[in-house]
């Protein structure tokens, strides 16, 4: 199971890096979504996989009996998914708004804040 998870993390990261090398901001963003999911899987796997042993406590007990799955990494992943979802929603809206306002999603053409001719103007 670890092997399968490790392979999927590898494939996700490779795809993410490929997408993030693109000048298209939207593809960069999709790469980021894949990357954050790869990271979520990493956290899940690094908390050790204990299949078929839910961390449930019998009524009356204070601690689970025997070996159970570690619930903390799943709580971390859940938090990360929620935060990641919010950030992605915001960033998608930002990219859309920038497209409407700047007329491009190509990062090379986004030079409004840092005009390329600023140096030339200084020289004159």
């Amino acid at each position: 199971m670890e092997l399968l998870l490790a392979l999927s993390v590898g494939v996700l990261v490779a795809t993410a890096v490929y997408l993030m090398l693109d000048r298209n901001v939207l593809r960069f963003l999709f790469g980021l979504v894949l990357l954050s999911n790869a990271v979520n899987l990493t956290i899940f796997a690094s908390g050790r996989l204990t299949p078929g042993a839910p961390p449930l406590i019998e009524p009356g007990d204070y601690a689970p009996a025997g070996v159970v799955a570690n619930a903390l990494p799943q709580a971390l992943v859940l938090t990360a998914i929620v935060i990641g979802f919010g950030l992605m929603a915001f960033t998608l809206a930002l990219v859309y708004r920038a497209y409407m306002s700047l007329g491009t999603v190509n990062s090379d053409e986004m030079r409004v804040a840092e005009p390329a001719d600023a140096g030339k103007e200084a020289g004159k």
């Binding site: 956290i43 935060i83 920038a98 840092e114 103007e121």
Partner: protein, 499 residues
């Protein structure tokens, strides 16, 4: 538990909610100011307790460490909360004049306070995953503030700021997950002990470098700083100033915390990387500044250059080096926010931040010119201002280790800093205005004049006080550095056992 640790988080949260509810009325902005004053009082009370008792810790919901979330303040954390409140108060007073009712209706004050909540949370948390959450709170509010108003420049800069910061966030999260996998704990004091048990030190160093990259992006280290000069000159000046003062310094704080408390097992490797990163950061930042021709863009590049000095102090990893890093951190926040405020007033009365379109400030607004010189000289390190002592300590620490090249570079960077400050002086203050405008402070309405100048005067006085009476501040930094290098008290207060 100590409620004092919770107030720096609760007060901004409450103020954010209230000022959002009243955002369409003038009451909203006064609630915001009152909230900042309350935050300042609470932070000073926290600082007083830290000075009295050493390290202060509180376990949330009474879950004992390392199982619950711990809030903890040592001297560094405490002073950072105080300086956050001071910068916040200065910003909100400045914003009274600068921020238009339109931006207030969009929720400027609420975003400002959630930003401060994130910053204060990051300074007082003792839990690595909780630190990640505070970083996110800070990040999402800063996104909002940066693009508030949605001008073309802001959207352009905002895209780069948002995307590159998100990459660093993902890196931080991955590092946290892997560290948990190796040690089984997320409490920073517990991690300090747990990393010593890890057998696979190579993997630990790999994770340390992941944290270095993650925090390095936030702190704008070379070569990860490109989001900063792309975006910091685009939002309103009040936003620029608080970003310039505080946000990158949260990254520096996180680096100092992580590389003194957790990753101190392979100093020869990790801190050597930090050392050369610091040198390159200083040089590229100051060269970038020398190439710019806009008031705020020059200042943005100078942030990067100055970050180099702080990281240099950390990288030297001697008591004196860390004293320098702590002192520099505090001095820089005050000075840098102040310079951005000055640039804002110059824009207000002179009509632009482009140096070619400014002029006559010395002839018509001598008070502003004088108040520019104080932080500008302090930034460059002229005695007797605060920057001189900060640079002196860092360079002395480098000389003590006989690192001649590093010390030489940091002195040369100081010289180049004064070059770009004279460039601003020579274009914006000295010659007549190209359009024949007479930029006078007295043309501003009285309320605006007070709201704009009061923060500048207050921060300039603070710079002079630190410069003229450095003794208590240096002694304080010495104690803070001592706690960083020997975190026994920190660990004992958090975990309740002597390590």
């Amino acid at each position: 538990m100590s409620w004092l640790l919770v107030y720096p988080i609760l007060i901004p949260l409450l103020t954010a909610v209230l000022s959002y509810l009243f955002r369409t009325t003038p009451a909203g902005r006064w609630i915001s100011v009152a909230g900042m004053v309350a935050l300042l009082v609470a932070s000073i009370a926290l600082m007083a307790q830290v000075l009295e008792r050493g390290v202060v810790a509180a376990q949330m919901s009474n879950w004992p460490a390392p199982f619950g979330i711990t809030l903890v303040a040592d001297l560094l954390g405490g002073v950072m909360v105080v300086i956050t409140a001071i910068t916040g108060l200065a910003t909100v007073v400045y914003a009274l004049s600068e921020i238009s009712p339109r931006l207030e209706r969009l929720g400027f004050h609420a975003l400002l306070h959630t930003l401060l909540m994130g910053v204060c949370g990051a300074f007082v948390t003792g839990d690595l995953f909780n630190l990640y959450v505070w970083f996110e709170v800070m990040l999402i509010s800063s996104f909002g503030l940066l693009v508030l108003g949605a001008s073309r420049e802001q959207l352009d800069g905002g895209i780069k700021y948002v995307l590159l910061n998100l990459v660093s966030t993902v890196m931080f999260l991955a590092g946290t997950g892997l560290l948990y996998g190796m040690t089984g704990t997320l409490n920073m004091a517990d991690l300090h002990l747990a990393v010593r048990e890890v057998q696979n030190t190579g993997l630990l160093t790999t994770v340390a470098v992941m944290f270095m990259v993650a925090f390095g992006v936030k702190a704008a280290l070379f070569p990860l700083f490109f989001w900063l000069p792309a975006s910091y000159h685009t939002p309103p000046v009040a936003v620029s100033a608080i970003f310039a003062g505080l946000l990158t310094k949260v990254g520096v704080y996180a680096l100092i915390r992580a590389f003194t408390l957790i990753f101190d097992q392979d100093v020869a490797f990790t801190h050597t990387i930090l050392l050369w990163l610091a040198v390159f950061t200083m040089v590229t930042g100051v060269l970038g500044a020398a190439a710019m021709n806009d008031f705020r863009r020059i200042l943005s590049f100078h942030i990067i250059s100055q970050i180099g000095y702080m990281i240099l102090g950390l990288a030297l990893y001697t008591p004196l080096g860390l004293v320098g890093a702590v002192f520099y951190l505090v001095h820089h926040i005050i000075v840098k926010a102040n310079l951005f405020f000055v640039s804002g007033v110059a824009k207000r009365i002179g009509g632009s931040t482009d140096l070619a379109r400014l002029g006559g400030l010395y002839a018509h607004a001598p008070l502003l010119a004088f108040l520019f010189l104080i932080p500008a000289f302090s930034l460059a390190g002229f005695p007797p201002l605060s920057g001189f002592w900060a640079k002196y300590v860092v360079v002395k620490a480098a000389l003590d280790l006989e690192m001649w090249v590093v010390a030489g570079v940091s002195l040369a960077v100081g010289l180049l800093t004064i070059f770009s400050m004279t460039k601003i002086w020579g274009a914006a203050f000295w010659p007549a205005h190209p359009d024949g405008i007479k930029p006078r402070l007295s043309d501003l309405p009285v309320f605006d004049r007070v709201a704009l100048m009061a923060p500048i005067i207050a921060l300039a006085v603070l710079t002079c006080v630190i410069g003229l009476y450095p003794e208590p501040f240096v002694q304080f930094a010495e104690r803070a550095a001592g706690q960083l290098l020997d975190p026994t008290d920190y660990v004992e207060t958090v975990l309740g056992v002597r390590p």
